[in-house]
Structure formats: C-alpha cells, structure tokens
C-alpha cells in the first residue's frame, strides 16, 4: 500500500489552502476517467495525481486520497474483469486479467508511488517515521525490484480480481454447468479463484438457489435434471475433489428427484442408452453414460496400477498418500469418509436409495427390449450388462445374464431347428399340411422364471402361423427332450409386407396387428364382433388395435347400419385414401404396443400393484373399523399387523401410490390427507 509513505508527508505542504481540497479530488476522478480511455500512464498525469495526493496528505486527508484512487482503480478493474469474462465460458480469462493488472494499474501505481517516493527518498532517515507494521522497503532504487507497496497493491488487486471473477462465475454457475464440458476453462478459473478467496459457501448457497429456481421445477423434464446433476457432479469434482460441496449441492437435486416417478426409468435409460437415444449401437456419438464412466474409471485405475505391487497394498498406499483433511466447510455430522472418491454412479444410485430397484427397472427394460427384437443381435446389451456387472456386482445381475443367455441359446436352437428342416426336406418329409416352411419363423425362447412377469393375452393366430408354431415346438421337443415350448402368442414382432394392386407396404408390427390384417386376406370386410371372435380378443381390444391399420390407411372403418356394429374394410387402392399417399414402399416401424403405451412386460408399478393387492383387504378392514386414517397410521398399522406371510415391507411412498390407485378406482376417498372408505 502507498500508506507507508503518507506519514512522511504530514509535515510537508501544511499550508495548502482549504479551498484546494475540492478541485484536486475531482481532478483525481477526471484523470482516472482519462486513464480508463487512454490506458497509458502519462508521466504528466501521474505527476498531477501525485501532486494532488501529496497535497491531500498534507491536509490530513490521507485516507480520502487513497480511497479515491483505490476505488477508481477497483472500479476500473471490475469493469475490466466483467469485460473480459463476460458470458464466454470457453476461454480462461484469469491469466489475461492478471496480465492486465500487471500492465495497467500496477504500472500506474508504480509510477505514482515512485513519484511520491521521489520526493521523500527511501534512504532518508525519516523512514523511521513509517508505520511500524510496514517493513522497510528494499532500498536499491537502481535495480527494478518492486517496492513492497507495489507488491501489496498487486496482491490486493489480484484478490479483488479473483473475488470479482468468482462472484461473476458463481452467479452464472448454472449456465456454466449447462455448458459443461465446453465450459471447463471457466470452471478452472473459478477453482483458482476459490482457492484464493475460500468463499465456497457462497458458491453452495447461490448455486442451490439457482437450482431451485431454474431446475427443480415441475416444468423441467427428469432427463434434463439428471443430465444437469451429472454435469454438476463432473464440474464440481474439478473444483473440489473431496466432494464436500458436491454433497451439499447435490442434496436438493436428489431430494427432488426422489419425488419423481420416472426417475428410475430415466436413470436406467441414461445409463444404458446412448445420449442420442439410439440404442442400436450405430455410431459412437451417443455413448451411454455408463461407458463414459467406465472409461474414466479405467483411466484412473490404469494410472494407479502400473507396477507389480500387490494391488491392495498399493491402493492403500495411494489413498494414504493422497489423504487430505476435509475442507473446513465439511459437515462434521456426515463423518469424514477417508475414501471420498467422487463416484458418479454411486451418487446416481444414491438418488434411488438402493441398487436393487435400479437393477429391477433395468431388467424390465431389458426384457422389453429383448422381446421386441426381431433378430438375435444383443451385442450392445451384453456390453452394457458387463459394465453394470462391474458396478453392481455379478450376483445382482444374475437374472439379466440369464435373459441374455436365453437369447444366445435361442439363436442356436433356432438354427438347429432350421437345420433339421434342411435334412427333413432332403428326405422328402416337407412340413406336412401347410405349404409354408419354417424359414419364415424365428423364435426367442425364454426361461420364464428369470424374466420379469410377462403379460399374456390369449390370441388366435391365423391358421398357417399356428401350424408353423406347433411344427416348431414339435421340432424343439425332438431336439431338446424332455423340454417343451409354451408360446406367448401375443409377443414378438412380425415383419409384414402388404402387396396391393398399386403398392407395396412394409411394416414391423406386433402379432396382434398381424393377426388382424391377415384375416382380411380371405374376407375383405369384417364386423368388429366377428373379427373379435376370430382373433379371440374382446371387441373393444380389437377396435383399439385395428386403429393402427386405420391410421395407416390400410383399413377403413364404417358403421354397419344393420347390426349397429363397426365395419372394417380393406382399402384396396391408395386413390381411395389420399392422406397417406406417400407411404408406398416405405418401411414403417411400429413395435408392440407402442401406440397404447403398454409394453409386453409388466412394469414395475404393475408388479407393485399386484404385490399390494394382498393388503387391500387389510386396509379396507382397517378403514371400516376406524372410519378414516392418515397415511402414516395406515402404514404403521400394516407394519404392525402384517408381520408374517407376506411381511409388509413396502415404503410409505409405495403405499401412498397404491392408495391413490384405490382412490382413482373409487374404492377410497381422501380428504385432508385422511383416507376413508368411499360411501
């Protein structure tokens, strides 16, 4: 600081007129303004300022003088930081700010101080008057060693710059993290700033409030929240390796996500699918989060396990050597995790609470995916499973492994069966009655005990197909005695090619759709009742399913005036229906149940509902006795009384969702959080 020299001035210029006080002050401001534009410390200008400062000191306005030029410099610096940093997070600005501090304000101060210093001379004995706190500046003016005052100014300016930049970045942290990893330079800057200023708590507070305001709202999709969560983890990991602030920041997000129903599903999708949503493994652009995590982990491990050390010893040594005390801000209640490696997957699993739920959801999704496959290509699924096994342990992924094994097995069996046909046809026993060969039938054969519950629907397939299926299972039994096949006729996929007079259309459809459209071969119009009888499904289901063909313009719906029934007719010519004239020849894909949003596999919620129905009687009985009860009380009563066979082990949330299901079925009423029987 320049303060060290001010005491020396108290004697000089004591006789300066009072009136001089005002003009010089405004002069300082003026000159600073000019300085801002010129960015060149003119020696005359410095001299003027120096004179004014000295005069002011002489008047006893030492602190005012210093305040004036200090605040001017800080204002300038602040403007500069804002100007340099701006909204661009892709470049690091810290160095250029430091360079600017060196180049502009320090130059000015250097000139100013040396001007002021000239008049009193470092080596004069009067330096004894200096403040005792300020040590004697280096007294070799010939050498360009920075004076102590200058060094202090430098530190002060840099601290101010760090703080300004930090505030700026913290205010925009949300955007910065949205941009991650492009915004890495900004985060590095922030990290350095925080190292100097230590205002981490500011970051936590402001970021949490930004999160609450901008992310954790009903309008944000769960996917976005999760992505932001992951980016937050990654970004904050660079700022704070111990993960202390991350814990504080992550808590509100986790809390919020727990309240969302589709969180688990989104997490699983994010883990397994590429970010681009193309699960077919085409292109590496959309790598799954899991693979990304794994790559990171491998890198870490590779660097850790280079030489032939015993891994455990080595690991222990590394953790011991890299131990750092928790930052002061760490919550002592949470306990010091000495191995607080920030594990993204762990933090994501932490949202849900247990990995079992995650694994279960994955299994359901995997089942759905596998059942909808029309080939046996499961490479990407195998890879995902291997990765999941690393993180969740082999035993919890056991069932999933069996599912994948089933597909591999099916592929083998399928080709074996096809091979027997080859032999059979050589010995001239072509599949007896139907004229079509088994070539057009593939089958996925599953070990149903290990798959999630599968929804079965009775369905009458067209005769030839049925014939094929029984043929197939006969051959299967021949190869694999004493095992037999049970067909799940509503599952699978059918690749259809419809040929009309004027067009050919290809579809990927569910068996129901195929069964429906194939009925129209023999008879081009059906009433819905008759069609339902032939297909073996309820009328309303048929009406719903046939909508698919109506929407494709293959079938037209009319009302039959006689029987007051829906009448479906095959559309022979595209000219009849104009709306989808562009469809000809294109291959349209629509997999089982897509349009109704119901998959072949019972969802986790359905499973839960099934499990909960056991308790429905208990709940009904309870409410008959007590009139109305709060959720907590129902939960506790169930816990108390349903101790054996089956034990009540559901969470409060699960109970709540079950009860709200009962409410929507109009079995219960809920008023002010109290459940009662519907009268």
């Amino acid at each position: 600081m320049a303060g060290e020299s001010k005491d020396c001035y108290d004697k000089d210029d004591m006789d300066v007129d009072e009136k001089d006080k005002m003009p010089p002050k405004s002069g300082v401001m003026d000159i600073d303004g000019g300085h801002l534009h010129g960015e060149r410390s003119d020696s005359k200008l410095v001299k003027n300022i120096g004179k004014v400062v000295r005069d002011l000191r002489g008047l006893g306005f030492t602190s005012m003088a210093e305040d004036a030029y200090a605040s001017a410099i800080f204002l300038l610096l602040k403007a500069k930081v804002h100007d340099l940093a701006g909204d661009d997070f892709r470049t690091s600005v810290l160095e250029s700010i430091k360079g600017w501090i060196q180049a502009v304000p320090l130059q000015f101060l250097h000139a100013l101080l040396s001007y002021l210093g000239d008049s009193f001379n470092y080596d004069s004995p009067s330096s004894g008057l200096k403040s005792p706190l300020a040590s004697r500046p280096p007294s070799y003016p010939g050498i360009d060693a920075p004076s102590e005052a200058l060094v202090r100014w430098k530190l002060r300016l840099e601290y101010f710059a760090y703080e300004t930049l930090q505030d700026l970045r913290i205010a925009k942290l949300f955007e910065i993290i949205v941009d991650y990893p492009e915004s890495t330079p900004a985060i590095e800057d922030l990290k350095q700033c925080l190292e100097y200023t230590g205002q981490h708590s500011k970051l936590v507070e402001s970021f949490i409030s930004a999160l609450r305001y901008r992310l954790l709202t009903a309008g944000a999709s769960t996917n976005d929240i999760l992505h932001q969560y992951v980016s937050t983890i990654k970004a904050l990991r660079t700022i704070d390796t111990a993960g202390v602030f991350l814990e504080a920041v992550g808590e509100p997000i986790r809390e919020y996500l727990r309240g969302r129903k589709d969180t688990i599903k989104c997490i699983v999708t994010m883990l397994t699918d590429g970010t681009g949503g193309n699960s077919n493994g085409t292109g590496n652009a959309g790598d799954s989060l899991l693979e990304e995590l794994n790559r990171e982990e491998e890198n870490q491990e590779n660097s850790a396990l280079e030489d032939g050390f015993n891994t455990d010893d080595k690991q222990a040594w590394i953790t011991a050597a890299s131990w750092e005390p928790d930052p002061v801000e760490a919550d002592p209640l949470k306990g010091s995790r000495n191995h607080r490696k920030v594990d993204i997957l762990g933090m994501i699993v932490g949202i849900i609470g247990s990995k079992d739920q995650l694994v279960n959801e994955y299994r359901v999704m995997l089942a759905e995916k596998l059942l909808n496959k029309s080939d046996y290509d499961i490479e990407s699924e195998i890879r995902t499973l291997e990765l999941l096994k690393i993180h969740f342990g082999e035993s919890s992924m056991q069932k999933c492994e069996i599912m994948l094994n089933d597909l591999i097995d099916s592929k083998r069996t399928n080709s074996n069966i096809k091979a027997t046909i080859g032999q059979a046809s050589q010995t001239s026993t072509v599949s007896e009655d139907s004229g079509i060969s088994l070539d057009i039938l593939d089958a996925t054969i599953i070990s149903s005990n290990f798959w999630p519950p599968i929804q079965e629907e009775a369905l009458n397939l067209p005769g030839p197909v049925d014939q094929l299926l029984s043929d197939y299972s006969r051959r299967y039994t021949e190869i694999r005695t004493p095992r037999k096949l049970l067909w799940k006729k509503n599952l699978g996929t059918v690749k259809l090619e419809l040929q009309f007079e004027d067009r050919e259309v290809q579809f990927m459809v569910a068996p129901v759709h195929a069964a429906i459209i194939m009925q129209f071969q023999d008879q081009t119009s059906w009433t819905s009742k008759k069609l339902a009888a032939v297909i073996g499904l309820p009328v309303d289901v048929v009406n719903r399913k046939i909508n698919f063909w109506i929407s494709k313009g293959i079938i037209a719906e009319t009302m039959d005036p006689e029987s007051d029934d829906h009448m479906f007719t095959l559309v022979e010519n595209t000219s009849d229906v104009n709306k989808n004239s562009g469809d000809g020849g294109s291959c349209e894909e629509l997999l089982a149940g897509d349009e109704e949003g119901e998959g072949p596999v019972a969802s986790v919620e359905d499973q839960l509902r099934k499990e909960m129905t056991i308790y429905e009687k208990f709940i009904m009985g309870m409410l008959t006795n007590f009139g109305s009860m709060a959720l907590d009380r129902i939960h506790n009563t169930l816990k108390m009384f349903c101790v054996a066979d089956p034990t009540y082990d559901k969470s409060l949330q699960q109970l709540q969702s079950f009860l709200s299901g009962l409410v929507s079925e109009e079995k219960l009423e809920v008023r002010d959080g109290m459940y009662s029987l519907k009268k």
Partner: protein, 100 residues
C-alpha cells in the same frame, strides 16, 4: 405361392391380389415336461436351476428315475453319492434307478 427375392419371405395365399408376406418372430418359454413344478430335493423350480447352478436349462438338466420322479440332475447325484448302500428315491423310497 410367392417367393420374394430368394428371401425367406413367403406369400400365404395363392393367386391373390392383396398379398401378405411376412417374417414372424415369435416368443416362447420353455419348460421341463415334468409332472411337478419343483425339485423334491432342493425345492427350487424345475424351470429354474439347482442351488449350485447359475444357468437354467441345459446347464442344469432334469433326470427321471425309474419311479418317474424327476429331480435336478445335480441334486439327485448328490443324494445318490451321499448314500452308503443302495440309494432310494427321496420321494417314494423305491430303489433309485436312472430311467433309461
């Protein structure tokens, strides 16, 4: 009957104007053709596997005795090997003979 481009796509109907050819990918589950659901020794499902196995099906097959009782192969082998003299069927106490 139509055969399209040497592929396995076959037309169902003969001499039709509107013609549907298809490739059917069906789903089935396999099950052991045994009378019982669970193995009498380990009480695990036949369609599952014995406690020592991980993969069901070929890796953990069933075996029938001459008394027509079925068990997981691994389970009954363990049982037979643990008997000092002649082994008996755990279900009906008849002499255990593997069914031919």
């Amino acid at each position: 009957m139509w055969l399209l481009s040497g592929d396995a796509v076959v037309c169902l109907e003969l001499a039709c104007e509107d013609c549907i050819s298809f490739l059917w990918h069906a789903v089935a589950s396999w099950t052991w053709d045994a009378q019982d659901e669970t193995c009498g020794i380990c009480r695990m499902a036949f369609d599952g596997c014995c406690p020592d196995c991980k993969l069901p099906g070929d890796d953990c097959p069933l075996i029938w005795g001459s008394c027509n009782h079925a068990f997981h192969l691994h389970c009954i082998l363990k049982w037979v090997n643990s008997q000092t003299s002649q082994a008996h069927c755990p279900m009906c106490r008849r002499e255990w003979q593997f069914k031919e």
